[in-house]
């Protein structure tokens, strides 16, 4: 199958992510893109907005949990 616009979009986003010095993972970018892809033609924007918010909250929780766990390990 030739690459579609979907493949190109996620490819572009991941390329740009790789240039960032950040803890944000590729999985989060993919998930956010999947949400926007699924809802791009919908008029109601509350659903995708809420889904993105939840994804970021989960990512921040994951980051903080990982840091806390590391801190606990280091303290021990």
């Amino acid at each position: 199958m030739p690459p579609t616009s979907d493949d190109k979009a996620i490819q572009v986003l991941l390329e740009l992510l790789s240039r960032e010095k950040s803890d944000v993972g590729a999985a989060l970018v993919r998930q956010c893109y999947d949400v926007e892809k699924a809802f791009q033609y919908d008029r109601d924007r509350d659903v995708p907005l809420d889904k993105i918010r939840r994804l970021v909250e989960a990512e921040v929780t994951r980051q903080l949990d990982a840091e806390n766990a590391k801190e606990r390990r280091d303290t021990r």
Partner: protein
């Protein structure tokens, strides 16, 4: 997505129930529906549109009222119900979609669309979907925004030329639709939504930092900036409102001016011709005056031979008089000498007496010389007269009337022809502008120019306010980053959220332009592949794409081919659609109305040969004038899954008949 069946009830010319079964075999994926004009080919396209999107479109792409969708014969008998039921498959699921419009209770005869009660139902794999889920599901399969690339009237493909015109509104609308089919909105909406969430997270962060030691002043500064940004946002919104209002007014004036375009052109032409007519008339008058002048002096030309003769005589006379006048001095001297001799009795030289005979001789000589002197005096008088007459005659010069009159006549005749031509053209143009208030048109044109100036000013203001706002947002982001870097921020949830949203916003925002560039390249490559198969001109190298996805043919020397025929426009537009469908995530059945109307036989053959590869299902709605059932379909026979004929029952009623045979 693959269409399976469609059942219409009272839909436009199809009274009662009519069923169409679409070809399901991928090897026989082409369906042709033959029908004369006005019999219901476009209605089939509209039945699909209406079922999916609740909208049927006329040839100008304006929505058709529900009142006109219901079959008129059925309505006359009181049956106002209309419905379309489609079964299809997509992404491994089977669907049925039914749209129905019935009269509302207590309405006997509908007068407007609100008198109908519309309903839409959908089942996926047998399970009923409700309300917004149906719209979302349709948007996943075949959103209305991109339907123009699947369900289209090939006669309107010329509109894609607007993509080559800078700042054209139609071009802008098509560009947006193209980006929709290519999925660019996923990144644009993602960027905007993440930006919204980032702002909220920053606001929370700033609020929390008000109570954190050492961060209060930054938090306050953040809040101040926010107030300023909010105020600028209000300004921008108001300016956008004015901008939209002005654009609407300009579009209205453009419509009026477009409808009077021919009259305006004729008026401009007429003004030019009237000026030319005035110039020619002035020239005609000047020539007439010149002609009169020449005629007044023409008698001089008639007298010229006799005058010349007289002049010659006078010159001769004058020359003779002049010669004798030159002798006068010597005559006077000799007379004086003779008079002196005669006054003396002796010669003053030799002292001898002068003989009587000698004196008589001198007296005779003196008498002769005095006679000659009198004659010379008369010559002097004659010389004066001759010179005066020569001068008078010389003033009576010939005017060359013959040559001048000939030249004037030639010019007069040329001017008369020009005059007649101008009067004829002026008459034609006057008839063209008659009935149009050209002064009103001029007023509207001036009004439009003024509105355009206002629009320019508003856009400048908008740009300024937006820039100011962006600067403040930039400062806010800077502050937010500073707050996030503070030691206390590592444990602060809001700071973490700001950081994550910030990264996401940056990559989604940056991704939009990069994705656009890559998609343009991909579309141009795919469209070129299609174009080279569809065109009959072998000197063409391919298609070049502009920022708006407008395609230009380029020849082997990489030169753009600027002039193209209606047929070439159609081939380029079909190539663009094919390029988009091959690049886009979504693909569906192509339903093409009047697909070959503008094409010559060779292009028609190329398109028909290419059609089966354009989509999983291709449905052609054609009349027998554009596709010859025997000759044109013969090479395509192995790919045809179904042929339908639309048969006339009455002026307002048609029926569909499936051709029997192996298809």
């Amino acid at each position: 997505m693959k269409l399976l069946d469609m059942e219409m009830y009272n839909f436009m010319p199809y009274r009662g129930k009519h069923k169409v079964t679409f070809p399901a075999d991928p090897a026989r994926n082409v369906m042709v529906v033959f029908g004369p004009n006005m019999r219901g080919k476009t209605s089939l396209l509209n039945a699909i549109r209406w079922c999916f999107y609740g909208e049927a479109l006329d040839r100008q792409l304006n929505p058709i009222d529900l009142l006109k969708i219901v079959n008129i014969e059925a309505a006359t008998e009181g049956d106002w119900e209309v419905s379309v039921f489609i079964t299809f498959e997509s992404n491994g699921h089977s669907y049925d979609l039914r749209r129905v419009a019935k009269l509302r209770e207590l309405v006997d005869v509908p007068r407007r669309d609100d008198d109908f009660e519309p309903s839409l139902s959908m089942r996926r794999d047998g399970k009923v979907l409700l309300g917004d889920d149906i719209e979302h599901e349709i948007n996943q399969i075949m959103p209305s925004q991109i339907a123009r690339f699947f369900l289209f009237d090939a006669e309107l493909l010329g509109q894609y030329e607007a993509l080559l015109v800078d700042d054209s509104e139609q071009g802008q609308a098509i560009k947006e639709a193209i980006e929709q089919v290519l999925g660019v909105p996923a990144l644009i909406k993602g960027r905007d939504e993440i930006r919204t969430l980032l702002k909220k997270a920053q606001a929370v962060q700033a609020k929390e930092n008000k109570h954190v030691e050492g961060m209060a002043s930054q938090a306050e500064q953040y809040a101040r900036l926010q107030a300023e940004i909010d105020s600028l946002s209000v300004d921008v919104t108001a300016l956008k409102g004015k901008d939209a209002h002005l654009r609407t007014e300009i579009a209205g004036l453009d419509d009026i001016l477009a409808s009077t375009e021919a009259a305006q052109k004729a008026q401009a032409q007429l003004d030019g011709l009237l000026a030319e007519h005035k110039r020619v008339s002035e020239r005609v008058t000047a020539l007439k005056e010149e002609q009169l002048g020449v005629l007044q002096g023409a008698w001089k030309d008639l007298l010229q031979p006799r005058l010349q003769q007289r002049l010659n005589e006078l010159i001769k006379e004058r020359d003779g008089s002049q010669a004798s006048i030159q002798e006068r001095g010597s005559l006077v001297a000799r007379i004086d000498q003779l008079k002196k001799l005669l006054s003396q009795s002796r010669c003053s030289v030799c002292g001898q007496d002068i003989a009587k005979a000698r004196r008589e001789e001198f007296g005779a000589q003196l008498g002769k010389l005095e006679g000659e002197l009198t004659a010379v005096s008369a010559d002097m008088a004659k010389l004066g007269e001759a010179s005066a007459e020569i001068s008078r005659i010389s003033r009576i010069r010939g005017v060359g009337a013959s040559g001048a009159l000939k030249r004037i006549e030639t010019e007069q005749s040329r001017s008369a022809v020009e005059h007649t031509r101008l009067e004829g053209e002026i008459g034609t143009l006057r008839r063209q502008v008659a009935g149009h208030d050209t002064a009103e048109i001029a007023r509207q044109r001036t009004r439009r120019d003024q509105l355009m100036q206002n629009l320019g000013r508003i856009q400048e203001d908008m740009k300024r306010s937006e820039k100011e706002k962006d600067d403040k947002v930039g400062k806010q982001n800077q502050l937010s980053r500073l707050m996030s870097k503070a030691p206390t921020a590592r444990t602060q949830r809001s700071a973490r959220e700001v950081e994550v949203y910030g990264v996401l916003e940056k990559i989604f925002a940056g991704g939009v332009d990069t994705l656009r560039d890559r998609l343009r390249e991909a579309v141009a490559a795919k469209a070129t592949e299609a174009f080279l198969k569809l065109t009959t001109e072998k000197t063409y190298k391919g298609l070049a794409i502009n920022d708006s996805y407008g395609l230009t043919i380029v020849d082997r020397q990489e030169r753009p081919v600027s002039v193209r025929s209606a047929g070439a426009e159609q081939i380029v537009a079909l190539s663009l659609i094919d390029g988009l469908n091959r690049t886009a995530r979504k693909s569906g059945p192509i339903v093409m109305d009047t697909p070959l109307g503008r094409l010559d036989p060779k292009h028609r053959a190329n398109v028909l040969a290419y059609v089966p590869t354009m989509a999983e299902q291709v449905i052609l709605l054609a009349h027998e004038g554009e596709i010859n059932r025997e000759e044109d379909l013969e090479p395509l026979a192995s790919r045809i899954g179904a042929i339908y004929d639309i048969e006339r029952i009455s002026a307002t009623e048609s029926r569909l008949v499936r051709e029997k045979g192996g298809k």
